[in-house]
Chain length 260, copies 2
């Protein structure tokens, strides 16, 4: 990920004011046109635009595998991704008006109701992971969050197996970072079932729906979950791990997958 | 704000596993019906629902003063706010499809394009505030973020004059916390022009549009801005202060309002 835009700022300290150059993380609009129709404009970190668009479409249920995508073009300069699918979804007015605005950084709309969606989404994939591995992976995850260290203010996500980080993504939005991961997997036909996702952000309800759609049985964060996140994790059969800090963590649901 | 839901969790440390009760911050859907039509469902911390709904409508440009609201009812149990306005906005299909999905926690859709909106929004209100006051107010702001300390994972916002905090709100979404502040102001006919807003979250583009609509000339955060946030602040005439930590801060734009 690129290292941000430079601005001349005024830094104020006890010793007075000084003008200096400072790097600030980039934010750009990305408009997704689905089957020639404007679906959504995301505000995002402008990298991995193809993966972000596909991951968004997958999270919202418009595509579920690479073969669903007939055509995909990226106009990075203008911030436009055009996608054509083989099975054009219906844009009923009801559907559009029922957008669900989420708590999430980098995402606002999920195009379904959490309660409607639950029945089909129960995660059946298994995974056994040791606490020591989670501590090590989260440490590695934080080490790799380079943009955050450089400019502040971006979220990260990583997909892991029981031993190592397989994919890593960053974005100003915590949802976008996750969608970049899942979009890349979909584009490369890489299975996600039975893997573990680490996120830098809070674990709220729509994050659970996102990982459930990819059959990911373990979600890990150094941050807190919400109560709706915990309730959904319980219902969806997902192991929710929060507050991973140093050698401590809280397992909120389905602790049987965390094995010493 | 209430202190969250209790769950029995497994805490894993070097000393092994222990089951204990833990508080988790609440997350609930809030559906806003505007003139008998379902406008949006927010995921939010379930307090100040009236202020949140009105603040959302104000941020999106549906209302601009209390007199615009003909009727407002809150069904807290079902998570529904019904609002009727004197001047019913048009729900053209174009308008609905052009929703802008933001980076923000707790908000996804802003119903206009940032570039379209800029011309009318330039902030003319003045305010002169000393660095020492900002340091003190941010310290007080962090002290008051009680829910964060209790359960982790909520954002805060505060409206201040040049000497003290006037209003304070918390939400799992950083946008929601700001909308609760501005919604309360609108409901109580409290002017916001010339005041200062403190937020716990990143300052991205749509936060700038939100404060510009309320003629708030100074926005302050302990976190980072995005480059689009800085560019908009410059264009909108807003003083953007980031990374307020201890006795240091970065002034990204219009530093003339920060006077020792």
């Amino acid at each position: 990920m690129e290292q941000g835009a430079e601005f001349v700022i005024t830094r104020i300290t006890e010793n007075g004011n000084v003008a200096l150059e400072d790097r600030v993380t980039r934010e750009r609009p990305l408009t997704i046109l689905l089957n020639h129709r404007e679906l959504v404009t995301l505000l995002c970190s402008p990298d991995q635009l193809e993966a972000l668009a596909v991951g968004f479409l997958a999270s919202e249920g418009f595509v579920s595998r690479k073969e669903d995508i007939e055509m995909l073009t990226v106009d990075a300069r203008r911030g436009i991704v055009r996608v054509a699918t083989h099975h054009a979804p219906e844009f009923a007015e009801e559907f559009v008006f029922k957008r669900f605005i989420t708590t999430g950084c980098g995402r606002g709309a999920t195009f379904y109701s959490p309660t409607d969606a639950q029945a089909d989404l129960r995660v059946t994939a298994q995974l056994a992971v040791a606490p020591a591995v989670i501590f090590t992976l989260v440490k590695e995850f934080q080490r790799r969050s380079e943009t955050y260290r450089a400019t502040g203010g971006v979220h990260s996500a990583a997909l892991c197996d029981a031993t190592r980080i397989l994919l890593f993504a960053e974005d100003i939005g915590r949802h976008n970072a996750i969608d970049k991961i899942f979009g890349q997997c979909l584009l490369e036909n890489q299975p996600t079932a039975g893997l573990m996702l680490i996120t830098s952000g809070r674990i709220s309800s729509e994050i659970l729906l996102k990982v459930a759609r990819r059959n990911v049985p373990v979600i890990v964060s150094k941050s807190a979950p919400t109560d709706l996140g915990v309730t959904l994790a319980e219902q969806l059969g997902i192991t929710l791990v929060g507050f991973v800090r140093g050698q401590r963590m809280n397992v909120y649901t389905h602790p049987h997958r965390i094995v010493s």
